[in-house]
Structures are given as structure tokens and as C-alpha cells.
């Protein structure tokens, strides 16, 4: 499946390519953009700006900062678990987060995992755009039936007595996992802690880095 779940298109030359090298998909997408632009519906420079935002500004560092703050500030953690939209907005470090963000906490008793079996719902504002595997058939099909097997694909083995809770994002609620703070990080700054928070640890398919795993 992975072989054709994304298109390894090597024509990375959208703006100055040669006609003969354009794939059918590129041609269709270009035709669509031209028509929508000529019809007056879209402004291509706004599309440039959207792409730039997702390539440079909106990524998992946003979520990592939130997690690190929750690890160091008990009042913030409480607020985050009560209403993540409101708590994240109160930080003011990023553009306002839209409605319906829900933070779910990992504990020694429970490990949380996020999936969208029906499409690709994902908390863009705090994690950026989802990776290909998150949107792929293997993940979407197995996460709700065999989450321990999926975790094994990521090299993670959960203790047998830990509950694994899978959250299927079937509505406009968006979930982010609050992973457990790694041992040996007492007294660390939020900034340093945020370096331990991986994207996958906030989806629930990974764990935060240990202090020994950082540079």
C-alpha cells in the first residue's frame, strides 16, 4: 500500500518546468488553479502564503511547547485537560487555536492514541499537517482494532496491563496526546523540555525522547 499511497513525484520544478516533463496530475492541478483564478475565486499569492505557513511556521513545535508547559505548570496542565482550546489560546505564543481541541493525558495506567478512520482529521494548528502514514490505509484500518500491533510497527511495546485508549476523530473535535514527562528531567526549562516532545508522542504512536536521546 505504501508504494502507491503517495506519489514520489520527482518533478520538483513547478514554476519553471518543461511541458513534456509534467505529469498528468500536475497538469490537472495547474488547470484547476488557472480556472479558479481566472474565475476570480482564488488568489494564487494567498496559496503561496498558505504553503509557506505550513512549511515554515505551523508544525509540531507548537504542540511541543504546549506539552512542555503542561509538564512544568500544574495550573496550566489542569486548564489544558479541562479545555485545551482555551488553555492554548491563553499562551499567546502562536496564532489563536480554533475550537474543539481536546488534550488527553497519558499515565502509567493509560496510553492514548489518535486516529481518523474515516478521513484524515488531525490537530493541524498544534502538529502541522499529518504525515503520510497517518492518512494511509494501514494506520486507519488497524489503529482501532490492533493498536498494540500498530505501536509495534513504531517500535513501541506497551506493558500488558496498560490500557490502550484509541480516539477515533469522527467529528470536528481534535485530539492531542499529553505524553508522560520523561524521568531525569527535573529542573529543566520549558524550552529544553519541548525538545523532547516528538510529533509522534503527541499522536500516541511514539514516546517523548529520553534525556540521553537528545544532542
Amino acid at each position: 500500500m505504501a508504494g502507491h499511497d503517495h506519489d514520489h513525484d520527482h518533478h520538483h520544478d513547478h514554476d519553471h518546468d518543461h511541458g513534456s516533463e509534467l505529469s498528468e496530475t500536475q497538469l490537472r492541478v495547474r488547470a484547476l488553479e488557472t480556472v479558479l483564478t481566472e474565475k476570480g475565486y482564488i488568489d494564487p499569492t494567498a496559496i503561496d502564503a498558505i504553503i509557506e505557513a505550513y512549511e515554515t511556521k505551523i508544525g509540531p513545535r507548537n504542540g511541543a511547547v504546549v506539552v512542555a508547559k503542561a509538564w512544568t505548570d500544574p495550573a496550566f496542565k489542569k486548564a489544558l485537560l479541562e479545555d485545551a482550546t482555551k488553555a492554548v489560546a491563553s499562551m499567546g505564543h502562536m496564532s489563536r487555536v480554533g475550537d474543539h481541541l481536546v488534550a488527553v493525558e497519558n499515565t502509567p495506567q493509560r496510553h492514548n492514541m489518535i486516529v481518523c478512520t474515516l478521513c484524515s482529521c488531525y490537530p493541524w494548528e498544534v502538529l502541522g499537517l499529518p504525515p503520510v502514514w497517518y492518512k494511509s490505509a494501514p494506520y486507519r484500518s488497524r489503529a482501532v482494532k490492533d493498536p498494540r500491533g500498530v505501536l509495534a510497527d513504531f517500535g513501541i511495546s506497551m506493558p500488558k496491563d496498560t490500557e490502550v485508549r484509541v480516539w477515533d476523530s469522527t467529528a470536528e473535535t481534535r485530539f492531542i496526546v499529553l505524553p508522560m514527562r520523561p524521568a531525569g528531567t527535573e529542573g529543566w526549562s520549558e524550552d529544553k523540555l519541548a525538545d523532547l516532545v516528538t510529533r509522534d508522542s503527541m499522536i500516541g504512536t511514539g514516546l517523548p525522547l529520553k534525556p540521553s536521546e537528545t544532542k
Binding site: 500500500m1 499511497d5 513525484d9 518533478h11 520538483h12 513547478h14 496530475t25 500536475q26 492541478v29 495547474r30 488547470a31 484547476l32 488553479e33 488557472t34 480556472v35 479558479l36 481566472e38 474565475k39 476570480g40 475565486y41 482564488i42 488568489d43 494567498a46 496559496i47 498558505i50 504553503i51 505550513y54 512549511e55 505551523i58 480554533g98 475550537d99 474543539h100 481536546v102 478512520t117 474515516l118 478521513c119 484524515s120 494548528e125 502541522g128 499537517l129 502514514w133 490505509a137 494501514p138 486507519r140 484500518s141 489503529a143 482501532v144 482494532k145 493498536p147 500498530v150 510497527d153 500488558k160 490502550v164 485508549r165 477515533d168 469522527t170 467529528a171 470536528e172 473535535t173 481534535r174
Partner: protein, 218 residues
């Protein structure tokens, strides 16, 4: 609809294969597709559930055979033509042949930053909240031919309401142009045995977010 997009619990798709140092986009056209989708949504041309429904209506072999952003592009072409924003002839020609329709607004670079914040899906409640956390519910065994957000694997199953998220616009209604039709939204949690039978791992719990019309008291 009972489409191939409703993948929860299907077997045979193989291992999950994370890609190391994955780029945000694998080709520039992917970014154009995402950007166009956002711009048309901002303009009010269609709703996110129209996009989902258009993808669900792709033939199963197409849905599985193309890449993620190719699917988006195909769905966008459907919404553009079926909702009258352009004709198939124009898409084929790669140029507008007639002037466009009037849309609510246009996404310009100065408002891109603000547009990246998610819209609220909360809507004014139309009736009392029927369930509360702790209530036992059974999901309905329904098979609408149109868009729904109740996955097949969780139909006709016994669960417990865990959270109430307020009243939200109802995708089943929005996707078929029947208005927001706001409904209460709940997180409903199921045991793995309830969903997958007596041999399932009892340490696994699965939840969906279910709109009130999907639920009966149990």
C-alpha cells in the same frame, strides 16, 4: 455511505510505514491542492463535509489507487463542477470560458494568517441534551447512502458516554445541502470485545465522537 474510506477494522493493508524526515509536501502541486482547498473553503464555495463526501464517492479502486492529495484534487474537481463553479470543459481547457459566480469573500495574502485558525463548529442548540457522561447508549445500525460520520465498525454497538462537546453542525445534513441541523456531540467509548468479539484484547478501549441522532439509550 458504506464506502472504502470507512477503513476502521479492515485487514490486509499491511504495516504502518513511517517515512524518515518526511517533507511537508512531496511535490509542489500537493501544496497548491491544499492551498486551493483552503481558499475555496474560505470563500464559502463548499463545506469540509462536501469535500469528504466527494472523496467518499470516488470509485473504491480510485480511492485506494491514488495518493492523498490526488484524492483531494479529484474531490475538488467534483465540487467545482457539480456545484457550478466551473464546467468540465473549462477544466479540460485549463481556462475560464465564462465569468465566475459571486462568492462570499476571497482569500488574500493579508488574511491568510487569520484564516488558518479553525472555524467553530458550535451551533445554537435546537433541543435538550439527551445524554450525559456515564449514560449507556447503543449506536444505531444505520447505512445511509450519503455522508455519515458513524463508522461501520461502531454501528449497533453498546457504549458509554464519556464527554459531551456541546451542539455542533451535523455533517450528515451539511454534506447533502440540508443545512447545519445542529446536534449534540458526545465521545462514546466502547470495549474492544464489544467491537471485535470475545477474543479481543480487553485492555483496549476505543472511542468515537457521535452525534446524538446516531445514539439510542441502552
Amino acid at each position: 455511505m458504506d464506502g472504502v474510506h470507512d477503513m476502521g477494522g479492515m485487514d490486509g493493508f499491511g504495516k504502518v510505514e513511517p517515512e524518515k524526515d518526511e517533507p511537508v509536501f512531496h511535490a509542489p502541486w500537493e501544496g497548491r491542492v491544499l492551498g486551493m482547498q483552503r481558499a475555496m473553503g474560505y470563500a464559502g464555495a463548499w463545506h469540509i463535509d462536501h469535500s469528504r463526501f466527494a472523496q467518499e464517492k470516488l470509485p473504491p479502486t480510485t480511492y485506494l489507487g491514488v495518493s492523498y492529495y490526488q484524492r483531494w484534487a479529484l474531490a475538488m474537481e467534483s465540487n467545482v463542477t457539480e456545484r457550478g463553479y466551473a464546467t468540465p470543459e473549462e477544466l479540460k481547457a485549463g481556462h475560464a470560458l465564462t465569468p465566475g459566480k459571486t462568492l462570499r469573500r476571497k482569500l488574500t495574502p493579508d488574511v491568510v494568517q487569520a484564516s488558518l485558525t479553525r472555524n467553530s463548529f458550535y451551533r445554537q442548540q435546537q433541543g435538550p441534551q439527551r445524554f450525559k457522561p456515564g449514560d449507556r447508549v447503543r449506536t444505531k445500525n444505520i447505512h445511509p447512502a450519503t455522508h455519515t460520520r458513524l463508522p461501520r465498525y461502531a454501528r449497533g454497538k453498546l457504549g458509554v458516554v464519556e464527554l459531551c462537546h456541546g451542539c455542533h453542525m451535523y455533517p450528515d445534513s451539511v454534506a447533502t445541502d440540508r443545512g447545519d441541523n445542529p446536534q449534540w456531540l458526545y465521545t462514546v467509548v466502547f470495549s474492544s470485545e464489544e467491537l471485535w468479539g470475545p477474543d479481543a484484547d480487553p485492555t483496549i478501549k476505543i472511542s468515537i465522537d457521535a452525534f446524538e441522532p446516531y445514539l439510542d439509550p441502552a
